[in-house]
Amino acid sequence: MKQEIGLLVIFLLVFLYDTFMPKNSLKALPVVTTLLMVVFTALGFGICYGGNTSAVAAFGGMYETSAVVTAIKNILNIGVIIVLIQSIRWANGELMIMRRGEFYELLLVTLFGMYLMISARHFLLFVIGLECASLPLAAMVAFDKNRYESHEAAVKYILTAVFSSAIFMMGLSFVYACAGSLYFDKIYNALYGEHTAMLVLALAFVISGVGFKLSLVPFHLWTADVYQGAPTSVTSYLSVISKGATAFAFLVILAQVFGSIYSQVWEWMLYALIILTITVGNLFAIRQRNMKRFLAFSSISQAGYIMLGIIAYNTMGVAAMMYYILVYIFSNLAAFGVIGAIENATGKISMDDYRGLYKTNPRLSFAMMLAMFSLAGIPPFAGFFSKFFIFTAAVGQGSVAIYVLVLIALINTIVSLYYYLLVVKAMFISDDECTIARFRSAFSERLGMWIAVAGIIFLGLLSPVYDYLLDLTADSSLLAYFIR
């Protein structure tokens, strides 16, 4: 509960600052928010290490937090800090003068919603969290008032989001019909061993609702348009924080609510979704020339890899998934940091403009290369280890089907290697004159990139991080839900 309260305090502080401070001091708002977030994250780590690690419940069992939950929230906070740092220059731009307070308030509200999704142990609270994390995002997507694409993206997002919420609610009502309760643990016990047609349909709807936010294929179609249309800071927030939080919430639901019908009902659904997600995401990523659209499809297929941690259905899978999310935050934010810096300086966003970038902006090209290598999973960068751990965890599940699944995932990494290296090739090998002139990015942008690049390089080499996550999940109560 401490983290939610802390987040609310920050929200209120930002709100008060935005409303009551004199106009000329508002320029400091982005920095103030970022600093508040840093302090908050540091305190969050304090809870993680200092406080007791046993699960704490509130609201009559509707809400629960534990060491693992605190850890994933901390991981998300780190990502949010990087996003905030990277967005400082954009938020202080001319277009944003009147609205920068709203941007931060909306962002904090969605983060609060994600916290609720992760910690909810009752579906009503979960839905509140889900909506809280979805609807303000539409406003954020539309933040570039002057750009037509931004509006289009927001409209597409809100329409599909509402539709998916409806389907999700319908699924929940089916679940209620089957189990007679919306408490996670009661549903878990009630469903034990059942597999009626209604239950299966309920699960398909629930999964599609969450899969929408995770942009699993075939519920992903909004992703590319929204990522392309939204301001880059919002896109990076969407692709990393929103995705990471939802993935963990998805894990909690599948384990703690539907864990008792794992093999009967949803195991095969997830196989199909993972294969589709990774493959289709890759196939579309190959054709993209717009960098943001390209990263949209790349993040779709990355979501497929994250799902491997759930299908592994063991504690190592949970640890590997958290680690994957952490590494993915750093890698993707490094890429978005470069894209944002170039977009802010020159307004260029096409891969064709990146040709020969190495000659004009070697440092940016280098950061981008590391990000691509990490996303593709090339050793010794962190992305390699996260993929390695998640594959190991998945194979640990032991069935023949999972071997096939991992094999397909491995083949897909080869395809992904192709398109990630396409960017590197454009930057380094192309002989063309670069259309992007040499420029110096703002301090905040460079700081964000340095943090992300440091994460890419050192996370893979720092084995204690993964070991810590592994210890955490081994101690957690999640273990009890993993049954066959």
């Binding site: 009626t196 659904m269 192709y418």
Partner: protein, 669 residues
Amino acid sequence: MSVTIPILILAIPLFMFIFLGLCGKKMSHLLAGTLGTLGMGTVLVLAYYTAFNYFFSGQACFINEAGERLQHVIFNTTWLQFTDSLVIKLGFLLDPISAMMLVVITTISFMVHLYSLGYMRDHHGVFEKGFQRFYAFLSLFSFSMLGLVVATNIFQMYIFWELVGASSYLLIGFYYTKPSAVSASKKAFIVTRFADLGFLIGILTLSYYTGTFNFTDLTSVPVEGLADTFRVDLSTPETVLAGISSGAAPIFMGASVLTWALVLIFVGGMGKSAMLPLHIWLPDAMEGPTPVSALIHAATMVVAGVYLVARLFPLYLMENSALVIVTVVGAITAFYAAVVACTQVDIKRVLAFSTISQIAFMMVSLGVARPEYHEGLGYMASMFHLFTHAMFKALLFLGAGALIHAIGSNDYTEMHGLRKYMPITHWTFLIGCLAIAGIIPFSGFFSKDEILSAAGNYSVWVYIWMSLVAFMTAFYMFRLYYLIFWWKEHTVREGHHAPHDQPWTMSVPLIILAAITCVAGFIPFGNLVSWNGEPYDFMAHFDWSIATVSLIVAVAAILLATVMYRKENKLPAKMKNAMPALWRWAFHRFYWDELYMFITHKIIFGCVCRPLAWFDRHIIDGTMDSFAIVTNKASNAIKPLQSGQVQMYVWLYLIGALLLGGITILCLI
């Protein structure tokens, strides 16, 4: 003995390599060279101190009360631990031969460091390009070679064995803009690597059946005891069964596993020591700078094979057949190389073949050593010859370097009659020639005589054969000497100034080495080095009759060379025309290179590589290409899904959710 000095002996060259390699470009040429030389000088002092301590301090860990010298492990740290028993250690072993090698390596290396300060620049004193790199590589080589000789276990030896191979590769290819140097360095690396494959298999076999890598364990076990663990007694079924169940090694293709292991290890030694048929890299290696030839390809690295056999000598003693192989390979190589050396025109090639021949002498000497003949005289003689040969061959190479430096060519036809112009080089070169020919009182006389008497004890045929080689050795060395320094008056080429002696940095090493060559024969070597550590009375086994015969042989050869080559005459041409086929074959080194070319290009490339290349091109690449094509097609086919219309998105969403549920229902219920 404290561990500080041994560690420093290894650490200083390594540090010099890293330091000069990283910072060399930033400092002046002279400073880099001086630093490298000073570093090596320090190592020289430390190594002399260590060797002196080992031989003469009389400490209990070095020599026991009966006067036997002991193997002493100064330190031995675990480097890699795979399992409880499979441990690879790195350490420092001090025993007679490693102490002797420390002296040899540091002496020659220091001389070469000093000499190169003068050699590696042109006539105007401008340093060559890459001078700092040269010193960095020299330091790397010295480090590797020192690590090799002090290895406490065979795996450490293998590691450093490869390191010397790598540094030899780097130094042969030092003039990397010259295509011949590049191909020579590749050739050296590939041929020795190929031989090292045998070495590695030998190591693995040996350690698999003995359970240890350590030299002290391998060689200090009582000889009879270890023999039992390897051989299966085939006399009755019961003994075979007992032998196998007690862990004894099986017989493989008619030879015991110990024989196989020793022969395979010897193959590694053959590669490094350029024994027939793996000798082809050494003559080409002369493409490297001449000081490198002196250090690596005459004095130190090429004797690593001899050192390896000597190191494992107690094991070789258990298998007569392995020692016979060593003898036969050595004897054939010695003869072959001597014949070829008589016909070469490139002075460095002559010296290279002479080196091959002399190393083969050492191999033969090890091969004929038996405790029952003169208490293992051959072993002592081999090590003695290794020592003296290192000194006088380095002297000859450095002398040749001085000549090449002055003339600018390797070809003796450009030299002739240089004695008046380069007196220091002339006299030191003559001392080297006398030593290698075996004239009393120069060092070569004593060591070669020991070898011949060891051979004579073993078999009279080996003795006669090796005496023949000794005859040829004296002949071709004096042929070379006369052709360089006499034959006819030197003609100074148009536009060149007259050749002259070298700067002091080059002369001093020549003079020091010549001095060592003059006196080294009188070192009571038997007291210091013997196969089992017991002091060995040198003079008691000295055979004056053999000494006299070999002296007569050497003098006869020198006389023949004098008659043929002292003044310009027709005799050599007549000789050549009398045996045209033999001469042609010898001149072309008996076409070994062509044979290798035929085998690699025609047979290996044609029959093995080409089908593999086809497989790679068509099957493997084809699979990958079709994979890419399928991906591309699929990507194209699903493009319409991303239409940009929200209605379509929602439809697909709904269909997806329903299909997901529907198919699951159909499958499960």
